[in-house]
Structure formats: C-alpha cells, structure tokens
C-alpha cells in the first residue's frame, strides 16, 4: 500500500455532526489534515473531541456529514482503512487477560505491515513485560503497550486520543520521546487530541480548538503564536482609552496600577508602531503566549461568543 504523498489529505472531516439525544456533541465540524502533519485537536472535557475521534475511526456513525481517511469514507470502509492506522485510545482498552506477546500475535495476523521485531524490541527497551496479562501492567506500561501496538503497525496515520492522560511526568515524557522518534524516522501523519498543551507545544504543526462541538480555530501553530500576543502598556490607565486596541481584537483586558495588560488575537506590528510615538518610550512591551495561555484566552472568548 502506498504511503500518502506529503500534502495529500489523510484525514478529511466534513460538516461532521454527532448528537446524543438532544445534546449536540459535534456540530458541523470541517477540517483536513495533510500527510506529514502533526495535527493537534484541543478542547476541554466534553468539547466533543472523543466523539470526533470515534467518527474518525469509524466506531460511530455521525448524524450528518462524514469522515474520510486516505480519501475513503471511514464508516463504510473502516476495516480496510484501519489497516494503515495506528490508534492509541484515551483509555488503554486491550483485553485485560491478554499478554503483550499474545496481543502481538493477534495483531500480526491482522496487519500485513506488522513489524514483529520492532514490537518485541520496543517492549524490551521500555521493559514492558511481554508475558504478563495487560490488566496487571502499570498505567504507564499500558500506555506504552498501547503506543507500541499502534507503532508496530507501521502506520501511515497515527491517531492518539489524549495519550498522556493520567500519566506521571516520567511516563509522559517517555511517550512523547517515542512519538518524536517515530516522527523523526517515518514522518508519520499524526492526529492527536490532548489536554496537556505543554506537551505538544513544540510538536504540533497545526492546531484546532473545539469548544462545545464547534471549531473555534484551525490553523498552523506558528501563525497562531504570531497573532496572539500579550501587550503591556505601561502608563496609568486613566491616561489612555481603549481605542488603541481597535483592530487588534483584544481577548482580555486587565487594568493594573501601572497600566493596561491586554491579550490580542490579531497582533499587528504596524498598527502598534503608529501608536508608539504617542506613548513614552519603552512603555509598550509585547510578548508571546504559551499555547496553554493562548488556548485559555481563545476558549474563553469562544465561550463568550457562544453565550451572547
């Protein structure tokens, strides 16, 4: 089976809608992940991430819209499509009575591309006992086993549903190292959801934020970090009105004794430069935000928009 060319869409989600009774979990989401991209879907608990991933893997049929993998509808062609997909679920879901070795044999029968040597070597390296029932492994070992099962498929697409959830920092670090390894070696396309934003700060090429079932944004992380900035205006609040922020799309404005602090969504150097002559030199300090801060600001804005 050919690997998708860089830039070719691997994941296409179109107007996907999932409802549970009267509750809409995913509301008309459209997104696309190109081959070779590390795509991170962010969202708080209950934002609809898990429902979206379920549709993406063909576990669930959406009420409207659809999901395609490698260009084919995943609900209809799930089994054949998933032979090229490695999946790490939110909760490790291996049959608890099975050993890692047994799971390896099971998967070897399922996947034409199964790399048994890699799998065995990896378990040995991470000291995951191969002959112990999965149910008796530690949380971190289960996570590693889950990732090993996904990677040994030699997948064209890795789907990771919050892979570091509930792991201690060491286990989390180890999982991320493995992921980086995989990326370095094979340029695998990755679709991941996470709540640990710090973990993916340097990893994701593209991020999307899901709030209340809708996509708040979907853009390259680089661009996002460029446009969302913190501006500190070191002048007593009374001296300036807020019009200086016009056009920068302020997300949050805080007034302090020493001046005004604002997070803006559309940072524009030129506009700020126009403003600067009117202010004391050095009174404007512009800084970037961590992804976590960006997420909190934007998700908060999204919430306001939804409420109004």
């Amino acid at each position: 089976m050919k690997h998708p060319e860089a830039g070719e869409p691997v994941v296409e989600i179109e107007r996907l809608t999932v409802r549970y009774g009267p509750t809409t979990a995913v509301d008309g989401v459209t997104l696309e992940v190109a081959a070779g991209t590390v795509f991170a879907l962010l969202g708080r608990n209950g934002a609809g991430k898990t429902s979206l991933v379920r549709c993406l893997l063909g576990h669930r049929r959406p009420q409207a819209g659809g999901a395609r993998l490698f260009g084919a509808d995943v609900w209809r062609h799930r089994a054949s499509l998933l032979s090229r997909v490695g999946v790490v679920p939110e909760q490790p879901d291996m049959p608890p009575a099975m050993t890692a070795a047994g799971l390896g044999r099971f998967c070897a029968r399922l996947y034409p591309s199964w790399d048994a040597a890699f799998y065995a070597e990896r378990l040995r390296r991470l000291s995951v006992p191969a002959d112990l029932p999965c149910g008796r492994l530690s949380r971190g070992q289960k996570g590693q086993l889950s990732l090993s099962l996904a990677l040994a498929v030699r997948p064209a697409l890795l789907v990771l549903d919050d892979p570091t959830l509930g792991l201690d920092p060491v286990a989390r670090r180890s999982i991320l190292d493995e992921l980086i390894d995989e990326l370095a070696e094979r340029h695998t396309t990755v679709f991941l959801t996470t709540h640990g934003l710090a973990d993916i700060e340097g990893l994701a090429d593209r991020v999307a934020i899901l709030t209340e079932g809708r996509l708040l944004l979907d853009e390259p992380l680089e661009l996002l970090r460029q446009r969302v900035r913190r501006i500190e205006l070191r002048q007593p609040a009374a001296a300036v009105d807020d019009r200086w922020l016009d056009g920068l799309r302020p997300l949050a404005i805080e007034r302090h004794e020493w001046g005004v602090e604002a997070v803006v969504a559309e940072f524009d150097e030129a506009r700020l430069a126009q403003l600067e002559p009117a202010l004391d030199a050095g009174a404007v300090v512009v800084s970037g935000l961590t992804l976590e801060e960006i997420f909190v600001s934007l998700a908060g804005e999204g919430k306001r928009e939804v409420q109004s």
Partner: protein, 635 residues
C-alpha cells in the same frame, strides 16, 4: 477472512479454561458410582447418568456465561473499541466471537460426556429430560442446539439490555415482556382448545423467530452499533422488535384464524355426540388447513345453528380427564366445561345452554368441576347433578338458592349418573372392575331419603337404558361364566331375570316402545326382537357375517349395518339396512354407511338417524323418504 480467523483464534486462546473445566467435570462423573445412592447399579450406567446431568448443567451454565460475556464485558468496560480500531470487519468480530463461543460450548459439552463414554467403551450418549432414555449425540444435538441458539444469544441480549439502560432497553424489556405475555396468552388459548397441532406450528415458527431475532439482533448490535453500547442497543432492539412483534402478530392472527373455524370447515366428524332427543349434536373433527386442530361445536344442522365449544374434541379432552359434554334427556339443554386459566391445571367451569332458545345462549354457571366428577342433567334440563367422592350436589339452574347437596353412593371409575323419571331421584350406576367386575345400581331419592340399591351383579356386564329412561337391561356373564339377562324397571324398581333364547349369550337392549332387541354375543349377526318379558317375537335377517345395530329412526324401525364377512372396518362390504321391527323385513339403504348412535336415542331424533361413511362424513337419513343427505364433511 483474516479478521475472522484472528478473532476466532483469540477467543479460543482467551477462553481455553471453559473446555478444560468441562473435562474436569467429566472426570468427576467417573466417580459417580462411589456415591452412596449408586450402590448396586451398573457403574457404566451410573457414570452415564451422572455425565448426562453434568452435561446439561455445563451446557446451560456455560451457555449463559459465554453468552453474557460474548460482548457484554467488553461493552461494559468500554473495551470493544480495541477491536473496532483494528482492521476487523463487524461481521468478522461478531461471527468470530459467536462462532468461537459455540465451538467452545460444544467442545465443553462433549468433553463432559467423553470420560464416561471412554470408560464404558461406547459412543457418548446423553439423556434429555423428556427423552426417557439416553440418546446418541446425533439425535440429541438437535435438542441441545437450543443452548447455543437461544440461551447464549439470549444471555447476551439480556446483558446488553441491562447495560444500556436507555429508553431502548426499557422498550425492549417491555416488548419482551409484552411478547412473552401475548405468547403465553395465545398459547394458553390454543392449548385450552386442545389445538396442539397449530400450537406446535406456532411454537416452531416462534422458535425460529426467536433464534433469528436473537442471533440477527446481536449481529446487528455489533455490526451497526460497533463500540457504542447505546447504538448497539438500538440496533438490537430494532431487530428484536422487528422480528418478534410481527412474529407475535402472526401468532395472534394464526391463533384467531385457527380458533375461528366454523362447522363448515370440518373435513370430517370423527366425534359425534347426538342429543338423546331433538336435533342437536356435539360434533368435532379436523378443520380445513388448521394443522390437525379439531374444533368442537354444538350444532343443529337444519337451521345451521352452532355454538363453538371450548377445549376442542371432547373425546380427546376426555383423555386428559375432562368431563364430556352432555344433554338433558329431552334434548332441550346441554352442558359442557370450559377450561379457565393456567393450561396445565385449568379449573373447568360448567356452562349450560338452553337449546330451545333461539339462538341458544351459553350460560357460565360459575361452578367449577374436577376431573373425577360425574355430571347429569335432569330430563327437562332444569337441574344439574354433580357427584364426586360420595358427595352429590344438585344445582337448580333456574333457582340457584334451591340447590342442595347430600351424601350418595359413589359411581366408581366407570360409572355414570342420571336423573330418574320426573327428576325426583337420581340413579348412580356404580361400575368397575377392581378388584372384581361388578355393577350396582343405586337410587338416591331427592332431595333426601335413604339411598336404595336396586341391583347388584358380579361379573362383566353390558348395561343399556331405554331412551325414555324407564327401563334398563343388563347383559352379564357372571363369575360362574353363565350368561344372564336382567331387566330393571327404573320407575318401580322391579327386576326380572329373562330366559335366554337357546341358552346362549345374548346382549339385550331396550327398544323404544317397550320391546327388547337381542343380539347374539358370540355370533353377532343374529338379531332378535323380544317383548318386555324376553319372549322371542321375531328373528331378524340378515344372518351371518358381522352386524352392528344403529338407532330407531321410527319406533317401528331399526338401522343395522351388516357385512357378509367377519372382517371389520373399511372394505368389508358393509350394507346399511332399515329393518322393520314388526315384519322383520330388511331394506338396504346404501353401502359403506354406518349409524352414528345406537338405541338410546328417541326414535326420530336427529341422533337416531345420523349416519357416517368411512371418511367420517356425516349424513342424515330421512325416515320417510329414506333418502340420505350429506350434513357435514368435505368430499
């Protein structure tokens, strides 16, 4: 295919403990002869019996366990996603698991039987609860299949229902309950009508529907619902309802259609019970396209008035201890019993109907009778007597408050009761052959007074009573093997021993109008008419061959069928004659026609003129024109 095989192998690896446990249980059966109760019996038989019992235990327990954990555990622990995240098709996952579970179940069941069979050095056998003896595997397997086909998917469906706890599962639970109740209710109706054939047909179809619903439902649950409990539950519910509700509706339709059979649907009339007088009869026989169901009707063929009797063919119902329907002597009233409630222990409610009303309206009496009860209507149909275990109850049908009860002699296993002329007394004919054959006739004055025994004879007796109820004749072979003929005047109580012509054995019956009809007991083709004192008046032709006596279409005539051969049944050249009782002339009326009833019907009543052919079609003889007309039955 790759996925299916991988799933099967995984399941077999995962659940190897089932057959291992079964083998251990089978080895346990080898120790059965050591049990205290098994002493003195052949050890091979004891082992086989123990293995049989354990076979069922293991089959049922493993069937439930395997079924409940087929997908239920994974769904409950949200682990099914593991399999749906792999390249395994839904049908392969379902089929692989269900197939592996069936294989494990079969292997486990066989392994329980194996050790005992090896020790006994014979093929494994097992006993079914109802088979009476051990069956080979090939025979028993069909019955055993209910475990993997119904029990296992049933356990899975129940577990799924319990898991989802959505409105779908509530609905499913309600549907299952509703279907169960409907099936029980409908099945009870058919059973109470003794429509066992249609019931078996319905049961077979329902069984297939249940298997299809459960197996198809669980497949749909996994293939459509995939890892989602709720969606799977919905698919399961839709298939369950989609199959079971139409199947139940079909059952209801079938049941209604079967039970809606009219007298015109009767193909033949193997059971005919004419009223002693008048033109009503109880008739029953197989109905058209109803799987052998024999509805019963109280029928008046002329104006085609009919009342459907519950409980089907009364003769078949009598075999399970239900009282036969009956008429009053004047034919104006009929009674029957109606099973109520639980089919296996139904109380039988008495129903009466005045047949002179038009249309006759059945009246449930609110009285329930037991199986051993004797019933009789008074000649005018105003009183109903019930005798059970020496307690006689007389119900005044028009004035229930005047009903009364008293002690009375018991009728014995083959006895009967009837009201004396005028209704002022009740006769109890006590008859039975244990320990020795004996006939006794007791007269019980009503409402009170000492019961008198009018007759008591040891030996084998043929008892017959005149249509008017005033005389009875007992033909008996006493313990000394001497044939005797005794008449009893049922009005005054006088009894007389009659001389037997030729000193040979004769069976006597009272003719309407006072005479006696004598038939040679050994050579049946000799008939004689005598007066009330037994004096021979006339020998009737024909003579020789086989002969049966029918009713009296007129007081002066008698129907007789005769065959020149001694063979019985179809093909014996039976000819129906009308015999003139004054001249002895016999006039042939037709071939292969039999009178339905014999003496004891009022001359001219429908019962005295009813004929039947060998296809059990029912005919009526016109006493004037002597023409025969088809009443009932398909050509």
């Amino acid at each position: 295919m790759r996925g299916l095989l991988a799933v099967v192998r995984l399941e077999l690896e995962r659940r190897w403990v089932y057959p291992a446990l079964a083998l251990a249980v089978g080895l346990l059966a080898l120790a059965a002869p050591l049990l205290p109760g098994a002493a003195g019996q052949p050890p091979d038989d004891v082992r086989e019996a123990a293995a049989s019992a354990l076979f069922w235990l293991v089959s049922v327990v493993f069937g439930v366990l395997l079924g409940a954990s087929l997908f239920g555990t994974d769904l409950a622990e949200q682990r099914l996603g593991f399999f749906f995240s792999r390249p395994i098709r839904g049908w392969a996952l379902w089929g692989g698991r269900a197939g592996a579970a069936a294989v494990l179940l079969a292997a486990s069941a066989a392994l329980v039987l194996l050790p005992a069979a090896l020790v006994a050095q014979q093929a494994p056998r097992f006993t079914l609860f109802w088979s009476g003896g051990p069956l080979g595997l090939e025979l028993g397997a069909g019955q055993w299949l209910v475990v993997p086909l119904v029990l296992m998917p049933g356990a899975h469906a129940l577990r799924s229902l319990a898991l989802a706890r959505s409105r779908w599962s509530l609905g499913s639970a309600a549907a299952v309950l509703g279907v169960g109740m409907a099936v029980w209710w409908l099945g009870r109706g058919l059973f109470n009508d003794w429509a066992l054939g249609p019931l078996a047909v319905a049961a077979g179809v329902l069984e297939i529907a249940v298997v299809v619903a459960l197996v198809g439902g669980s497949a749909a649950q996994i293939m459509v619902g995939r890892a989602s409990v709720e969606r799977g539950q919905r698919a399961l519910a839709l298939v369950l309802w989609g199959v079971l509700l139409p199947a139940t509706a079909g059952f209801a339709g079938w049941s209604a259609w079967v039970r809606g059979a009219g007298p015109g649907d009767l193909l033949s009339a193997p059971t005919v019970m004419p009223a002693p007088a008048g033109d009503w009869l109880v008739v029953s026989g197989p109905a058209r396209r109803r799987a052998g169901y024999r509805p019963a009707f109280l029928l008046r063929p002329g104006p085609a008035e009919a009342i459907r009797l519950p409980a089907g063919d009364p003769f078949l119902a009598a075999a399970i201890g239900r009282p036969l329907p009956g008429f009053s002597a004047d034919g104006s009233t009929a009674y029957w019993v109606r099973p109520e409630g639980h089919p296996f222990a139904s109380p039988l409610e008495l129903v009466v109907a005045r047949l002179d009303a038009s249309p006759p309206r059945p009246r449930p009496l609110g009285l329930f009778v037991g199986a051993a009860e004797r019933l009789a209507l008074s000649a005018d149909g105003s009183r109903l007597a019930r005798l059970a275990s020496g307690l006689l109850t007389v119900e005044e049908l028009a004035r229930p408050d005047r009903s009364f009860a008293r002690r009375a002699p018991d009728a014995g296993p083959d006895g009967e009761i009837w009201f004396g002329p005028g209704g002022g007394s009740l006769f109890v004919l006590e008859r039975g052959c244990s320990p020795r054959c004996r006939v006794a006739l007791h007269r019980v004055p009503l409402p009170e007074g000492e019961a008198e025994t009018w007759l008591e004879i040891q030996g084998q007796a043929v008892w017959s009573r005149s249509a008017a109820g005033d005389r009875a004749v007992v033909s008996v072979v006493d313990p000394e093997a001497v044939p005797r003929l005794v008449t009893v005047d049922l009005v005054g109580g006088a009894r007389a021993e009659l001389p037997l012509p030729d000193g040979a054995g004769w069976i006597g019956r009272p003719l309407a109008g006072g005479g006696l009809l004598l038939q040679a007991a050994e050579e049946g083709a000799r008939l004689m008419v005598a007066d009330a004192d037994g004096r021979k008046l006339l020998a009737l032709s024909p003579v020789g061959g086989s002969l049966r006596v029918g009713g009296q279409p007129t007081p002066q005539s008698l129907l007789v069928v005769h065959s020149p051969t001694l063979r019985a049944g179809r093909g014996a050249d039976w000819t129906l004659y009308r015999v003139d009782l004054e001249t002895g002339d016999a006039r042939p009326l037709g071939e292969d026609l039999w009178p339905v009833a014999d003496l004891g019907q009022e001359p001219g009543s429908l019962g005295s003129r009813l004929l039947r052919d060998f296809s059990r079609r029912l005919y009526e003889l016109d006493p004037g024109s002597l023409e025969v007309r088809l009443l009932l039955g398909a050509g």
